[in-house]
């Protein structure tokens, strides 16, 4: 595999997909039809990307890059995944900072706020449902209730998240992931 064609593949995937999760489908098509990975390897990469910390689109791209060309492949994937979103966002940030005092920005944000709140609720719901067991079990509800109480009391959120993770280790124990 030639490096620039690998880079182009990652650039394309990241330009065409609006978000991390959305890029999985495109990446799958590219990686499996180009025979960079077998289907089983790809599924395994998706599993690891969901479990390990950090942006999942980035991790998935690096897994594909590794399969295609070892360490140089990982850095090619990283470059391809980072360039499109950051260059665009830099331009948008620079423009928006200039207009920060304008009235229309206030209106735009006032209209966008409820929609952004709705988006966060929808993603939270999908996240909650998408735990590896695929069903909402009592343990997940218990952890959700306890952490809701902790956030209500305004305990520091990183501590609450760590606590929830540890509780998960206690409740779910030694169960291999699907």
């Amino acid at each position: 595999m030639v490096w620039w064609s690998l880079l182009w593949m990652f650039l394309k995937v990241n330009l065409l997909s609006p978000s991390g999760p959305a890029s999985i489908g495109l990446l799958y098509k590219e990686a499996v039809t180009r025979q960079l990975m077998t289907e089983a390897q790809f599924v395994e990469a998706v599993g690891f990307s969901n479990v390990l910390p950090g942006s999942e689109a980035l991790k998935l791209a690096m897994f594909v890059g590794f399969a295609a060309g070892g360490m140089p492949g990982v850095f090619t994937a990283l470059l391809g995944a980072i360039l499109p979103p950051t260059v665009m966002m830099l331009i948008v940030s620079a423009i928006l900072q200039r207009f920060q005092q304008s009235n229309w920005i206030d209106g735009f944000v006032a209209g966008m706020s409820p929609a952004v709140a709705a988006l966060i609720v929808v993603v939270a719901w999908e996240l909650f449902r998408a735990t590896s067991s695929k069903t909402i079990d009592r343990r997940a509800v218990l952890i959700a209730a306890l952490s809701a109480g902790a956030f209500w009391l305004e305990l520091p959120s990183p501590l609450v998240l760590l606590g929830a993770g540890l509780l998960g280790v206690l409740l779910y124990g030694q169960r291999s992931y699907g």
């Binding site: 978000s19 942006s55 991790k59 897994f63 939270a124 993770g165 998960g168």
Partner: protein
């Protein structure tokens, strides 16, 4: 400039404690809003990062970093977001076969997920309340947006752009 180190550490922490871009929104809100960026800047960051193509997490980092410290801020936030997954992947590809047996990692994430979902609900409520208006107009926009996103017929970014335009026309 003296903001760059705390900025780096915050993004490092957020990216170590969340498994995906959207999941980091709740944590990032708690760490940044009030002390480094305004409510309005945060909403713009989340809104535009879901509108533009590419990874949400990196765009969110870029925007907030830029708001705090210009281009150096954006690059610092970007670096801190990239570092944890990259180091972890480089490690994992080497010890992949051994890690597969470490079931406690998946149990940890299993426990983390409901808590992240809750944190996001709290964040959503705060963003909604402080969005400039929480009258019936905001409820209408919020509920219609949620219905649109849940129906899966309208792409999320279109919903957010429409909501913003409605805001410019009727709420400013």
């Amino acid at each position: 400039m003296e903001n760059l180190l705390p900025l780096f550490l915050i993004f490092l922490k957020v990216n170590l404690l969340s498994t995906s871009g959207p999941a980091s929104v709740g944590l990032l809100y708690h760490e940044m809003v009030g002390s480094y960026v305004t409510e309005s800047q945060f909403v713009q960051a989340v809104g535009f990062s879901s509108v533009l193509p590419g990874s949400d997490a990196l765009q969110l980092a870029m925007y907030i970093g830029y708001a705090v410290g210009g281009i150096p801020g954006g690059l610092v936030a970007l670096l801190a977001s990239i570092l944890p997954p990259t180091v972890i992947i480089l490690g994992v590809t080497v010890i992949l076969h051994r890690l597969r047996r470490e079931a406690w990692i998946s149990s940890f994430i299993e426990g983390l997920t409901p808590a992240i979902a809750m944190l996001m609900l709290f964040t959503a409520w705060k963003i909604f309340q402080k969005g400039g208006t929480d009258g019936w107009e905001a409820w209408a926009i919020g509920l219609v947006s949620m219905a649109g996103m849940l129906s899966k017929k309208v792409p999320e970014r279109i919903v957010i752009i429409i909501a913003g335009v409605i805001g410019v026309l009727f709420l400013s």
